[in-house]
Symmetry: C3
Subunit: 364 residues, 3 copies
Amino acid sequence: MKPLLQDIRNTPLLWLLVLVPVVLVAQTLAHEAHTLLFVLSVGAIVPLAALLSRATEAVAARTGDTIGGLLNATLGNLTELVIALTALRAGQYVLVKASIVGAIVTNSLFMLGASLLLGGLRHHVQEYNRNSARLQGGMLFMATIAILVPSVLAEGDGGVSRAAFTQSLSLGLSVVLIVTYALGLLFSLKTHSELFAAAGHDEHGEEEWPMPLALGTLAGVTVLVALVSEVFVESVQQAATTLGITPAFVGVIIVALVGAAAEMVSAFAAARKDKLDLSVGIALGSAVQIALFVAPVLVLCSYVLGPSPMDLQFWRGAVAMMLISAVTASLVTNAGRSAWFIGALIITIYVIFAMTLYLLPPPA
Amino acid sequence: MKPLLQDIRNTPLLWLLVLVPVVLVAQTLAHEAHTLLFVLSVGAIVPLAALLSRATEAVAARTGDTIGGLLNATLGNLTELVIALTALRAGQYVLVKASIVGAIVTNSLFMLGASLLLGGLRHHVQEYNRNSARLQGGMLFMATIAILVPSVLAEGDGGVSRAAFTQSLSLGLSVVLIVTYALGLLFSLKTHSELFAAAGHDEHGEEEWPMPLALGTLAGVTVLVALVSEVFVESVQQAATTLGITPAFVGVIIVALVGAAAEMVSAFAAARKDKLDLSVGIALGSAVQIALFVAPVLVLCSYVLGPSPMDLQFWRGAVAMMLISAVTASLVTNAGRSAWFIGALIITIYVIFAMTLYLLPPPA
Amino acid sequence: MKPLLQDIRNTPLLWLLVLVPVVLVAQTLAHEAHTLLFVLSVGAIVPLAALLSRATEAVAARTGDTIGGLLNATLGNLTELVIALTALRAGQYVLVKASIVGAIVTNSLFMLGASLLLGGLRHHVQEYNRNSARLQGGMLFMATIAILVPSVLAEGDGGVSRAAFTQSLSLGLSVVLIVTYALGLLFSLKTHSELFAAAGHDEHGEEEWPMPLALGTLAGVTVLVALVSEVFVESVQQAATTLGITPAFVGVIIVALVGAAAEMVSAFAAARKDKLDLSVGIALGSAVQIALFVAPVLVLCSYVLGPSPMDLQFWRGAVAMMLISAVTASLVTNAGRSAWFIGALIITIYVIFAMTLYLLPPPA
């Protein structure tokens, strides 16, 4: 336990872990204080996500390059996945879909833009490896297109046959996406791992965790994330109404920022050290993983866990936001050079999205 | 005739030519066996297309660089043109439009993706001439945008004035596209031919055909394609219903794969020989030609051959598929580098399109 | 006054200034001759715009690099701004929005395309600075996306709450855009001015104007533009009906070509001298300024000058045209190389837009 406690002592973000017992106790004592529970659960998920990411890396460090890479890639969005699974079990499909949209938008606009901005404030012009950035930009574009096909091609008047069509298309698409994701792992970890070398995770220079501690932390924290997520999912709707926030804003902006907080810390630190390859790799890689892995897994899980099957039909505005995010990220990383204003422009688009979702009148 | 017969003997694909008399006989004997006629006609068009492409090259080889290039460029999609003209005469405008969509999608996704995949399975990373690929990617993007303008800008509620508007816009657009195509030939064959050098057709190392044989084969095979196309167009609707395939799937996927089979053989062979310039040139060049030449020629011909003028208004899903194909192909070839997974990703998008069209409920 | 008169004597375009008194006299004498007034006012605005641009440069030349650059950047689209403000005061919001759309489309397609074509007719292949072109292409793409967010995300059925939403979103967006524009000036004039060096205005080698003359001309010509704009805005609707031109065509094509005439002269001259950096900088820079500065200023001014607040909701076709223009300009300038056919292709897209707007049936 020593390395774990030491890490917690050295990382101020992890001191928020104290909120975890608080939120679980508050849940039993003040079941109806939705706004309080909402704020506490958001505050508790952030350090848990950071710890989860630390434990994943610790396990990965002990298991060698290929399996470690596989773990890092597969568990990289574990927090998002656990939150979405909790919402799925509660049948809150709008929240699940909003969190998918939010994860793609937040990773490819906010995380990328803030990395370029923070890096650019310290370094005049930053160059990075165009070839791997371009590859990841292309992968993000194609993964986003793939996940959006049912929404774009299946539009039209409703009806029973159309709903059945959307459902079977989403199921088939999910299988295709997971196969593509597996091929992508084969590509990035096995046949062409040298192209992704720079995108590997940063050296921590910290003491390595022993395997039992790493695995135990991974398991324990996942359970804690699941417990806190339940409080979060139960309280979010009521709290949003009380605070006057639209559900779309909560799902797309708040959940995504909370879930990605840990990765952002790594991406921003790398950007300030002029390692933009790493920042771009974390941001785009995570967005790709949401589209190719998390989203289809959620569709498949909905057949087992959810009250009814979930499809991959997104609302018009969500389609536009995801497409704009993917095209922007692809175009920008295509250049392989950056300065602070590029980051500011990307964040501007993100801010405009957030503003739109904030102002959006709730559906009548 | 000797070189022709020798070519047939050496090319297993051409042995399928035996299906040509079979389908023509079957047509008179079993007029109602739609499914059989459909399968046979598909099987007969593939070798005819290959032979047509061989004869075009043979004529081109005898007529010098510029006229030869002109012939290769203009007759490169002759099979698609003849099939579409047959459907046009029969008034099957949905099939005609679907075959335009299919030709663009198949060339710029399937042919390109499979070339990159097949090339990438043999070569670790493939580099190709970025400048000409980028030029062709840009041309494809702009040609696709041009052909889609009526569908994108003319949307809205119907009415007589709107139909008349779409029709005159399509006519004007067709003239503009053909002028642009002529300028493009001037550019690629005359003023800037050196940029397209690599995209010229592959050396066959085979015996050259004498001119009369080449011209005779070209004429004779065109007639045969027209005859078989007629069987195909007549049987396709009934056969699709029997086989439970949607008409959109037949038009966009099957017709396009059949029509482009011969070019695919060339493109794939070049990719495996690490000549990706050539593969990219064939795939994108063919897609550009469909948009700038075949589509407007079909509109103009509809005034003479068809029961009523045809416009260039495509259905929403078709617009999305063409745009996605063109943007994907432009973005990918922009890089000038490829590895197998890039090809796999492009094919994934194609597979998702095919799956969507296959599952699409028929319009009520 | 000598340098001013000398400039007028040497520039045939400025001889059209004789139309300025003509149009103002005609306005009082023949108030109802709408078509005549429309043609005269168009003819008078062109030389005024050229003179305005000359006076701006003269002031800028006297005020040092940073303030001069600021003036050039801010007053670069002064003609468009004055025309739009006149239309705004008259409550003609459709014309105001059409002129925003037109300015973006005309700058990023016609001005860019004609520069590449004219340059390409004289030079076989033209190379230009990819890094700054790419930066400006990216800025144009993101600026266009930003201005289009309300139109794309706020679509849906109307209703009071939706109109209020669109209005507050447009107001918030305008503030964000102006802040972004200010950051962009900081970037291009202060922190990273070296990246934009080539995009500065061309040397004229002409006699420098003394400051009072420059300032006086700037003020006087702005007043004249305002007066003539009033004639133009009053006559345009009636004249369009008489001439059988759609209002969309007038707003998007004619107003934009008139307003940008002076900049086009500079951009085309630079292209023919093989200074494509300069041409691309003028064309894209001007389009960016419309999106980030002119459009939000018009929204803010509508609260003071207009009969009611104006929003940034554009009609579907306008959204498509702006997006296509921005993506095309970004993709093309990404390459950093050009030949005449690229220019011809871009102009083709512009011609197709113009044709569509010309044929568009008026809304019932």
